[in-house]
Amino acid sequence: MQRSEALTEADRLMTICNSCRYCEGLCAVFPAMELRRSFSGGDLNYLSNLCHSCGACYVDCQFSPPHEFDVRVPSVLARVRHESYADYAWPRALAPLFRSNGIAVSLITVVSIAIFIIGFVAFNDPSALLASRHGPGSFYALMPHTTMAALFGAAFLWAIVALIQGARAFWHDMGEPASVLAEPRPLLCAIRDAASLRYLDGGGVGCYNADERPKDDRRFFHHLTFWGFLLCFASTSVATLYHYLLQREAPYPLWDLPVVLGTLGGIGIVIGPLGLYAAKRKREPAMMDEGSRSMDVAFLAMLGLTGTTGLALLLLRESSAMGVLLALHLGAVFALFVTLPYGKFVHGLYRFLALVRYARERHAS
């Protein structure tokens, strides 16, 4: 099979890096590279997904541009990564969503929000959208809980199936046996490395962004985003349990667990993406893949939109703005769910799998 330009370039760079190895103490990519002498497409996809883009190898490299060897590991691996996301997309027909990802995600979001607004109006009295409501069950006056659960359950299920299929494709491309995923040690190791963002630290001093000065901002904001996302997910899960097990209907009081988790998580997925976006604005262009930018920004924007609308809904849930905010929030969350397998979100999944493989390889060598 003809290699893409990005894979060919990554192969050239890994050959250079493997002859030098000065960066081997910085992260997982270089020790993993050293276990090989030549690099298959699967190897390069593995290495690219292992890279956290901390930038240390770029500022430390004696061969980065303007040197004629033109070694730009973070940007080239970002490009390979981006291509790999499309390669693993399921169903294949949706792979093009990774191209012009920003436009695709925006359109899906706009359509999704519009449908919720139209639905609220169509299935209710048109004035219902702007009515103020109080107490448990007020959301479900606009959209019955069963409909909401069915719709979001289906979207979530779709995302899960598509993500699993993508993960299978990546795992197969790397040539790892499925049995590795049943071994506790690599899994635990990868969970620890992923949860701590171990390799987003520039080899110990913080990652590099605008220049050769290390800064730990990106790791901090990524933690806010990641843990914020998990808290939001936990909030939704707890609320679902409340509904079905305890027969308690949303909205819940401010002190209640779903609201507390959701509020903290919401703050995380608003501030985290803002910080990451600000860092991206300042980032040295030679460390970035321009082609991935719209995908990166789209995901940050989706998280920010979900968080902002969720927090606004919480603040104004007893006002006449509730109906519109609920439509906005549900539209955003729905769009977030259905686009999870076709955007930047997949980086977490593939990077985690790459870390599992790395833990296995390290232990074996």
Binding site: T15, R21, Y22, C23, G25, R37, D60, F63, F69, G203
Partner: protein, 471 residues
């Protein structure tokens, strides 16, 4: 300099002016600044290319009494001295060298205090894990840390500021004349630290020592080490040390760029094959000793061959036994085809390989020791790791001499102060790094010792210069 009055004066005069921007220069600048001096660093290169050959380094050799987090065992002062004596074959100043080795112990901590980080020895260099401290991220990472520290301390740095003249009055430095994009300026200083490297990138100077063959040499590091500051100092009456015709040369991939190819163009496969010249003839025992001990003779050997080119030839059995390098090996299904690809006489190469194969005596091949695989009745012999080249595909790397550094320098005293030809030490001129390495390293090389010389003498020079400026 004449016409002094025509050159505009820099608005600020400094206590210490440092010529150069590598490890030695930065250690001097930081040490001088720590001691309270105002310091200016003059770097001829751009910000990206700053740091001369330090960019290409990866470790330094420092004595230490115990194992550390990054060093696998102790390396005593005596052992360091023995190693230095062995590689220089006695061409060293024992007093200076022993002082440097003693000071190198403190250097491990001092350099970390300046922001440099170490890691355990790199893959493929495990033999240095006990003696050498490896920079996390390599030499450019080290430079970045030193420059950040220097900036934080308030050291001024000018990039693309080449020293084109030194105003020296007998044994006293007065000012440096520098050329920048917008013209020439004269910068006064109370003391000078010369840390501007050797002259290995000045091909015309190499030709003076080696003859026309030097035009075929490749320069492994910075194109900026042209020896201009060294020449100005020697011209001003500073005493010299080291053989002006000598340089450290290894065999590197002939396809490497003329300058700055760095570590990735080196080849570690000589011991696994045979090396032939352009006439397809062998010329030296490829298996004389373990590779780290013979690495640095092959530049000289190839330099002595016609057109300064040679070819390392081996077969598939050896293809994965050595560190990978930048350019792929040239590959062919037969020796004759390989010769064709290399531009060698196919019959000649086939005959050389056949004669070699016939002379190989079977043994138990072991790349980690001086094994018993050798040739008999062959001139030159191959004393170890001799295996028949008989299994395709066959491979070859073309090699040329790659120059690492030069030995000629300025003579210094214990304070890293330059010594004058007329006798005595200069008043306010200090030197550190490659420009004075010949004082302790008159010949040969031991991994990481260039950085030791740079750091130790850099710190001494910086402190001395600051002390002088304060008087």
């Amino acid at each position: 300099m004449t016409a002094e009055n025509d050159i505009p004066e820099h608005p600020v005069a400094y206590d210490v002016v440092v010529a150069g921007g590598g490890n030695a220069a930065l250690c001097a600048a930081i040490a001088a600044r720590h001691a309270g001096a105002s310091v200016l660093v003059l770097e001829a290169a751009s910000k990206f290319y700053r740091g001369g050959n330090t960019r290409h380094t990866r470790n330094m050799r420092c004595a230490h009494d115990t194992a550390t987090a990054t060093l696998s065992g102790p390396y005593t002062e005596d052992e360091f001295w023995d190693d230095l004596l062995r590689v220089t074959e006695g061409q060293t100043n024992e007093q200076l060298a022993r002082m440097m080795i003693r000071e190198s112990k403190e250097m491990l901590d001092w350099i970390v205090e300046q922001g440099v980080r170490f890691q355990p020895s790199l893959g493929g260099t495990l033999s240095l894990g006990r003696t050498n401290s490896f920079f996390l991220g390599g030499g450019r990472a080290m430079l970045n840390a030193l420059y950040l520290t220097a900036a934080r301390l308030g050291v001024d740095v000018l990039y693309e500021a080449e020293v084109v003249g030194l105003d020296i009055d007998s044994d006293r430095f007065r000012a440096a004349i520098i050329r920048q994009r917008d013209g020439i300026t004269r910068i006064r200083g109370k003391a000078l630290v010369a840390a501007a490297g050797g002259f290995e990138a000045n091909i015309d100077r190499l030709v003076e020592g080696w003859g026309e063959i030097a035009r075929n040499f490749l320069i492994r590091g910075t194109p900026h080490n042209r020896g201009t500051v060294l020449d100005m100092l020697l011209g001003a009456g500073v005493d010299s040390i080291g053989d002006p015709t000598q340089c450290h040369a290894v065999a590197i991939d002939a396809r490497a760029p003329k300058y700055d190819g760095g570590i990735i163009t080196r080849l570690d496969c000589v011991v696994f094959g045979i090396v032939v010249n352009k006439h397809a003839m062998r010329f030296y025992d490829e298996g004389e000793d373990v590779w780290p001990k013979r690495y640095a003779i092959w530049g000289r050997l190839v330099a002595a061959q016609p057109d300064q080119i040679a070819y390392i030839v081996f077969d598939v059995k050896s293809a994965n036994l050595f560190m990978p390098s930048l350019y792929p090996a040239i590959e062919a299904a037969s020796i004759a085809e390989l010769a064709g690809k290399l531009g060698l006489d196919p019959d000649g190469l086939s005959a050389t390989v056949a004669a070699f194969n016939a002379a190989v005596r079977d043994g138990s091949f072991n790349p980690d020791i001086l094994d018993d695989c050798r040739t008999e009745n062959l001139t030159p012999p191959k004393s170890h790791w001799a295996r028949r080249i008989d299994t395709g595909p066959y491979y070859a790397y073309p090699v040329r001499p790659g120059i690492t550094f030069t030995y000629l320098g300025v003579r210094v005293d214990h304070d890293a102060r330059m010594m004058m030809k007329a006798g005595g030490s200069a008043q306010n001129m200090y030197a550190a790094g490659e420009i004075m390495a010949g004082n302790v390293l008159g010949r040969g090389y031991a991994a990481g010792i260039g950085m030791t010389i740079g750091s130790v003498f850099g710190r001494i020079a910086g402190r001395g210069a600051a002390r002088h400026a304060a008087q």
